[in-house]
């Protein structure tokens, strides 16, 4: 359990350090160092869980089980690689005169703040603390969205703040209702602990939980980016600095979904049916389809990929909602591969935008000719996110499709249509950007693309074979969530 | 022995072909109140041509000079598989009626290439038209043949003829349709009036002649001979499939002689029929040939349907 405390302590110290020292030239490297520490701690934690099984802290305030341990590792990993990317990226932005030292100080301390919030969401066993951390994540990132201080970025940040704030307030109402239901059956001391609630789920009042779930779903769903609550997402992703978009897309959305699923497990236990799942399926499918259509009319490259994130979150929500071992397994896998791929894509997108000097899709052309690594990175990343094998996204989408075919065959064509539309929407924009002749004045930039290729390599590996320990966690989590293991 | 007989029959076929052409010309001349040349005139012409030194266009490649041999041998091979005076000959088993169509296609392929080889407008025109007409004729012909082969349930010509012989005289509507279809196709494929006029060199109406305009000497002789064999092939097909009576089923001298006589009479009659129609009809515009051939196809189709509906319905 010490590992978990270390995990939380490191970013906390990071905030303090960056906040106190201000920006120096090697701050980026310190950031990498801190994230490396976190990552090592997460590995330590993972090894622990692998050996012992679920871990509880002394007062049950923290819980590490197979559902969140892999997300913790993923978070630490993406946090690390993104910090590796963000060093030279932010330095370049500073050279361009877009940022100054004060804002970089803010950036780095809030980066750690965001990581802290993410770890807290994942590790805590207390639903109330989870809510607090979730809100904390919003607060940490909202100033980063407006980091460039352009009118657009301020607008985006304001929308992000208000919409997520209102949304998350609803989640709090849901949490209060949950607490209320819990207090009715037992002591109020541990009434918000997820593990306690889960054990007594069948005793909770199903009526209350149903209503609570509506609030929770809409609240956290705003952060997941479910249509029609998604409106902040493309704005915030496109206007903030790219490393922020990478972690927002790769981590924050996942964690929000994680929160919803944790709650769904309680609700399912109480209601003994899948009514909560149906709600999630509806939202998921709607998000998926609408986002797929939106892809077609994007003009800004980062907006494009943020809609793609909405689309993928839709698939996951749909899959979790469908329940059943196959779909759940697929959704868990999809969380992993999506955040790996999407953060890798945002890294390349950031560099691509720097190469072209703009985020306007129409003006980014011939990347492969200009800087082959960025071009290929973007292209292969898009291939991966569009669900082509042997990348892992394919595996999970394949399983989702089959599970749909099994349980709701009439939805399968809809899903298929959505995947087709989304794919066309992505590629019609990406292809002209990477291929073709290099336009005038487009010059290569200094870029560190190792994170991209490591991420894509991992996704590739996951598409070919899922390593045993991960498969083990996935199936245990599946067992936990859906009640049985896949096949 | 049977192989010898088969070779003999093939040679006979090739040898008689110019005679049929002469006879046809003779009939036409008489019908049109003209002085007829001798029946042997085609032989003389062929002989004359083989003795001449061929003149070849400057740009012509080996395709042009080798095509006549290829065309001729493909046609001869086609002749070898069609029963002329006797059935059950071993050569008939080498290939069936579909392969026969294949041989025609083979010859036509090279004829058309030869037309394109010299690089004049005429050659291209002839090739283009020839390929057009044959593309339309081929389905019609196969439709007619299918009617027949479905009745006999074989595509082997020899077996089919035997089947018709054994059945005796049965009045099959499908056969009537198929017969007419095949006749129409035969006229188109052999380049007779009203589709093409073998006697004209009028530039805009030429089809076959346009392709071979540059040929001379032995090359021309081969091509002419091959087209005479082709004409006779269609005649024999029509005569022996639809009216097989008289063809030799054994290999006795008597039967063979009788068979020869029968086929000569049948072909003579067919030629008279053809010359009458050529005298009565005028040549069509090129773009009416499609209607003509679709009519042939329709007949073939009707034949097929009447076979299915009227004759073999289950």
């Amino acid at each position: 359990m010490i590992a978990a405390y270390v995990l939380l302590l490191v970013p906390f110290l990071g905030i303090a350090f960056f906040g106190l020292t201000g920006h120096r030239d090697d701050t980026g490297k310190v950031n990498i160092g801190l994230n490396t520490f976190s990552f090592l701690a997460s590995i330590w934690l993972a090894v622990k869980v692998l050996n012992v099984g679920s871990l509880y802290s002394a007062d049950q305030a923290f819980l590490i089980d197979s559902f969140n341990v892999y997300l913790i590792m993923l978070t630490a990993f993406v946090g690390l690689t993104t910090s590796i990317f963000s060093g030279p990226y932010m330095a370049h932005e500073k050279e361009l005169g877009k940022l100054n030292d004060r804002r970089l100080k803010l950036y780095y301390s809030m980066y750690q703040g965001f990581m802290l919030a993410m770890y807290l969401v994942l590790t805590t066993n207390n639903m109330g603390v989870m809510w607090v951390a979730m809100e904390g994540a919003t607060l940490a990132t909202v100033l980063l969205v407006s980091l460039y201080r352009t009118p657009e970025s301020i607008e985006a940040a304001w929308k992000y703040f208000i919409l997520c704030g209102v949304g998350i307030a609803q989640a709090l109402f849901g949490t209060i209702l949950l607490y209320y239901a819990a207090v009715q059956i037992g002591d109020s001391e541990h009434a918000l602990l997820w593990s306690v609630l889960y054990e007594n789920a069948d005793k909770l009042n199903p009526d209350i939980l149903k209503i609570a779930f509506v609030f929770l779903l809409i609240g956290y769903g705003t952060k997941i980016g479910l249509v029609p609550l998604h409106n902040w997402l493309p704005d915030a992703h496109s206007e903030g600095p790219t490393p922020m978009s990478a972690v927002l897309s790769g981590l924050l959305l996942n964690d929000a979904l994680y929160a919803v699923v944790r709650n769904k497990m309680l609700v399912d236990g109480a209601t003994q049916n899948n009514s909560a799942g149906l709600l999630m399926m509806g939202f998921g499918l709607l998000s998926f389809l609408v986002a797929a259509v939106f892809l077609h009319r994007q003009k800004d490259i980062k907006r494009l990929f943020s809609y793609s994130s909405i689309e993928h979150m839709g698939i996951m929500t749909f899959a979790f909602g469908m329940g059943g071992p196959l779909a759940t397994f697929a959704a868990l896998l999809h969380m992993t591969v999506h955040s790996l791929t999407k953060s890798a894509i945002f890294v390349t997108v950031g560099h691509a935008a720097q190469v072209a000097g703009t985020q306007d899709i129409k003006k980014i052309r011939g990347l492969i000719k200009t800087q082959p690594k960025i071009g290929w990175g973007l292209l292969i990343g898009t291939v991966a996110i569009a669900g082509f094998p042997p990348f892992g996204v394919f595996t999970s989408e394949f399983l989702v499709l089959l599970a749909t075919m099994h349980s709701y065959p009439w939805l399968a064509p809809v899903l298929l249509l959505g995947i087709g539309i989304a794919f066309a929407g992505l590629f019609r924009h990406i292809q002209p950007m990477v291929f073709g002749e290099q336009p005038e004045g487009q010059l290569p930039v200094k870029a560190n693309l190792w994170p991209v290729f490591i991420h894509l390599g991992l996704v590739f590996w996951l598409g070919l074979a899922i390593p045993d320990f991960l498969a083990n966690w996935f199936s245990q989590a599946t067992l936990l969530i859906s009640g049985s293991t896949p096949l | 022995m049977t192989w010898l007989l088969a070779i003999f029959q093939t040679l006979l076929f090739v040898a008689l072909a110019p005679l049929l052409a002469g006879w046809l010309k003779w009939c036409k001349c008489h019908l049109q109140n003209r002085q007829a040349p001798s029946l042997l005139q085609p032989y003389r012409e062929l002989l004359k041509l083989t003795r001449k030194q061929p003149v070849v266009a400057e740009h012509a490649s080996w395709i042009f000079t080798r095509a006549p041999y290829i065309i001729f041998s493909a046609t001869v091979l086609a002749a070898s598989i069609v029963p002329l005076i006797a059935v059950d000959l071993p050569t008939a088993a080498i290939a069936d009626v579909i392969v026969l169509v294949g041989f025609f296609a083979f010859a036509r392929f090279f004829l058309a290439l030869a037309g394109l080889d010299i690089g004049t407008a005429f050659g291209g025109m002839g090739s283009s038209r020839e390929m057009t007409i044959s593309s339309l004729a081929e389905p019609a012909m196969l439709m007619a043949i299918f009617t027949l082969t479905m009745t006999a349930s074989t595509t082997n010509l020899s077996f089919a003829i035997v089947h018709v012989l054994n059945e005796g005289l049965v009045l099959r509507p499908s056969f009537v349709f198929a017969l007419f279809a095949l006749m129409l196709v035969a006229i188109a494929e052999t380049g007779r009036i009203p589709v093409d006029n073998p006697d004209t060199h009028l530039e805009l109406t030429m089809i076959h002649e346009a392709m071979i305009l540059e040929y001379s000497g032995r090359h021309l002789a081969l091509i002419e001979w091959a087209s005479q064999v082709k004409l006779m092939l269609y005649g024999v097909l029509i005569a022996n499939i639809f009216f097989p009576w008289g063809i030799a089923q054994g290999f006795s001298i008597q039967a063979l002689a009788y068979g020869l006589l029968a086929i000569i009479v049948k072909l003579a009659l067919l030629a008279i029929l053809l010359s009458i129609s050529e005298t009565l009809l005028a040549k069509m515009r090129l773009f009416r040939v499609q209607e003509y051939l679709s009519f042939a196809y329709l007949l073939g189709l009707l034949g097929m349907l009447s076979h299915i509906i009227l004759e073999a319905s289950r």
């Binding site: 029609p228 094998p389 074979a465 | 041998s73 080498i94 394109l116 005429f122 390929m131 082997n156 540059e214």
Partner: protein, 709 residues
């Protein structure tokens, strides 16, 4: 097990060639490596010398290319060996690879059907790797890096081979998509042309839609069984409706890849865009993999066949065959033409497969085997001659820097060897006797003619009609390839480029086409070799093979029974040789007339034939254009430029002709338009006003609460 190792080797070698290709341009790195590790304690001077020679500045690139293609070629050789071994062994080997999902390792199965397609791929790959080194040398490294080309070629070939090995739905889809994606990158290889980019996009889009349909069709089967292995899917018992749904989905998916009308549009776009040896692989081989998929799905997995499916296949096949060749005829671009002709041939294959299905469903397995055999044999033949023609097209493109048929002409004088090989291809594809294309069409006709055994009147009349359509197709194909060969090689050169064209310098480029041409002829004369192999496949899959067709002797082909039909290509060859030889010898015995006299061609007395007087492509096909006018969207204009007093004198005449496929405006443009419109409408929900967004949130909340209570 030996066979299995051969099969794996084929896959591994193709991947290896791809990886090796990645190392191109890394000469400096290799130098550094060799110097670093091989300096001090390296005791093999010869080896050292060898390495130095390999890494020599100006030889390294070419050596490296050769090495990549040698690996690819070896992969082809192994594929051929493995295919032959498994077909001769007549057994099916199974294996598992420890990749994939935790509870579902990749299942591998190598049986006769896979083996046959292995053979097809192997031959294609061997030909391509003989041809490749010289061909790719033309690409500029800076513009079109070889690393990309080589890598994706390796992945592409490997993907195709894996598709054939797959024995569970998941592995199958991975291999399938690997094949699609790798070939997408190959289509986009010369991405500086916008047409190529567009082609690649359409290709990938349709590949993706097709793949989704295939996944769904597997999904249908999987939801009636317990698992995704093909063994489990075979056990699935479906109601006829569900089986039909699965069939339609599979047909859509595999048909899209195979290029069936009307879902064929990607094909004529993508095949010309890729480098020629890749077009050869795509057209000659990849389409066959789609056919394999359909066969595997319908004949193997679905089990109980329904005759209606056969009718669907028959009709679609007929439409594709006739439509494909008619569209092909109008193309001035050689590679587009060949691509459309692939649609035609795939149509023929589907048609015969449909017949086979009909016979199978009506309880005539022996006739079904005949049709099945004809289809597979045609697939084999098409892979040979289409490969040959595409490779030939590549040579032409390099020697004349053009693919427009209308600018060529007279090349037979300048490129005699190429022209001869190309002629063989043209003759095969026109299904002339003595060549392999004819044999398979002949078998197809024989299958169709067995219709008399059926009881259903509709089928009895439908099948002969489609057989007549097949005849039409064959005749049109002959016309089309007369045009192709005539316009390209015969007559007079129509442009400076073709006037200056020369035979390829690097003769190794001709080895690949020569191999294919030789096989075309060889299997045209001895089709029994393949048919015997295929008999085993049919026996494995349909449980029925043809009767002992060697009743007469090995020279004869008698698929139904010896006293019904027979065809003996060797005898025909002998006959032709005798007849041709005799006439040749006889007519040239006179020494005086033996030599020919050369003279100017007849010019009607106008004097001076010019190349512009020749028939052109569009002139040649004009009669067809008029007769089948409805088939195309024809935009034909004649613009006259006038001058002089009152503008009465004609100065110049411009002829403009554009022939378009119906499927664009009928099927694809409406879809694109629809999606864009939909996006526009849906876009309106995102107004940019935060109060509206809050309103969404509010209304959603209210609605949800109302729904739940």
């Amino acid at each position: 097990m030996m066979t299995m190792i051969l099969a794996y080797n084929a896959v591994l070698l193709s991947f290896a060639s791809g990886l090796l290709a990645l190392l191109s341009n890394q000469r400096a790195m290799l130098m550094a490596l060799s110097q670093r590790y091989l300096t001090s304690d390296f005791h093999y001077p010869r080896c050292r010398k060898f390495l130095d020679r390999i890494l020599e500045e100006n030889r390294h690139a070419s050596l490296h290319r050769r090495a990549v293609f040698v690996l690819l070629g070896l992969s082809g050789v192994f594929a051929v060996l493995a295919g032959l071994a498994v077909m001769m062994g007549q057994d099916s080997l199974t294996d598992q690879i420890g990749l994939g999902l935790p509870w579902l390792p990749w299942h591998v199965r190598f049986d006769g059907l896979s083996g046959f397609f292995y053979l097809i791929i192997g031959i294609g790959v061997i030909a391509v790797s003989l041809y490749g080194p010289a061909y790719v040398a033309f690409y500029q490294e800076s513009q079109n890096p070889f690393a990309v080309l080589g890598l994706f070629t390796g992945l592409f070939v490997g993907g195709m081979l894996l598709v054939l090995l797959a024995d569970d739905a998941f592995f199958f889809m991975i291999a399938w998509e690997l094949m699609s994606v790798a070939s997408y990158f190959l289509v986009a290889f010369q991405h500086e042309h916008s047409a190529n980019r567009r082609a690649a996009f359409i290709y990938l889009l349709m590949a993706q839609v097709g793949a989704l349909a295939i996944i769904l069709s597997f999904g249908v089967l999987a939801s009636f069984s317990d698992g995704f292995t093909f063994d489990a899917l075979r056990q699935a018992t479906l109601s006829p409706t569900w089986a039909s749904i699965a069939f339609v989905l599979a047909l859509l998916g595999f048909g899209m890849k195979a290029g069936i009308v009307p879902v064929h549009v990607w094909l004529p776009e993508a095949h010309p865009a890729a480098p020629s040896h890749i077009s050869a692989l795509m057209s000659g081989v990849m389409l066959k993999v789609a056919v394999y998929g359909l066969i595997r799905f319908c004949f193997d997995l679905l089990g109980e066949l329904q005759w209606q499916w056969g009718v669907v296949l028959l009709v679609l096949g007929t439409v594709s065959a006739v439509g494909g060749i008619l569209y092909a005829m109008m193309q001035p671009n050689l590679k587009r033409l060949l691509a459309y002709s692939s649609i035609e041939n795939i149509g023929i294959i589907f048609m015969v497969l449909g017949l086979s299905m009909i016979f199978m469903a009506n309880g005539h397995p022996q006739l079904a085997a005949l049709g099945f055999l004809a289809a597979l044999f045609h697939a084999f033949n098409h892979s040979l001659f289409k490969n040959l023609l595409f490779l030939g097209a590549g040579i032409l493109q390099h020697q004349t820097h053009d693919l427009n048929i209308d600018t060529m002409g007279g090349l037979i004088q300048r490129m005699p060897q190429t022209s001869f090989l190309f002629l063989v291809g043209c003759m095969s594809i026109s299904s002339l006797p003595l060549f392999n294309g004819f044999v398979s069409e002949w078998l197809a006709f024989q299958t169709a003619l067995q219709v008399d055994v059926l009881d259903n009147g509709v089928l009895r009349s439908l099948i002969p009609v489609s057989a007549a359509a097949l005849a039409l197709t064959a005749a049109l194909a002959a016309a089309c390839f007369v045009k192709v060969f005539g316009m390209i090689f015969l007559g007079l050169p129509r442009s400076r480029n073709s006037e200056k064209a020369q035979e390829v310098k690097d003769k190794s480029m001709l080895y690949g086409p020569a191999l294919l041409a030789g096989l075309c002829f060889f299997f045209g004369i001895f089709p029994n070799l393949i048919i015997n192999l295929l008999n085993g496949v049919a026996k494995q899959l349909l449980g029925q093979s043809l009767p002992n067709d060697t009743a007469l002797s090995w020279l004869w082909l008698a698929p139904v029974s010896a006293n019904k039909v027979s065809y003996s290509p060797p005898m025909v060859l002998v006959g032709v040789l005798i007849a041709g030889g005799i006439s040749f010898w006889y007519l040239r015995r006179n020494l005086e007339t033996k030599t020919m006299r050369r003279a100017a061609a007849w010019d009607c007395g106008f004097g001076g034939l010019t190349p512009r007087m020749q028939y052109s492509c569009s002139a040649f096909t004009m009669p067809f254009r008029r007769i089948f006018a409805r088939v195309w969207l024809i935009d034909e204009r004649v613009d006259k430029e006038m001058q002089g007093a009152m503008d009465m004198e004609v100065k110049a005449v411009h002829y403009h002709l554009q022939v378009q496929d119906h499927s664009w405006p009928r099927l694809y443009q409406p879809i694109t338009h629809g999606v864009n419109q939909l996006a526009k409408q849906v876009g309106r929900i995102q107004t940019g006003n935060i109060r509206v967004y809050l309103g969404y949130s509010f209304v959603t909340l209210i609605l949800m609460l109302w729904v739940i209570s």
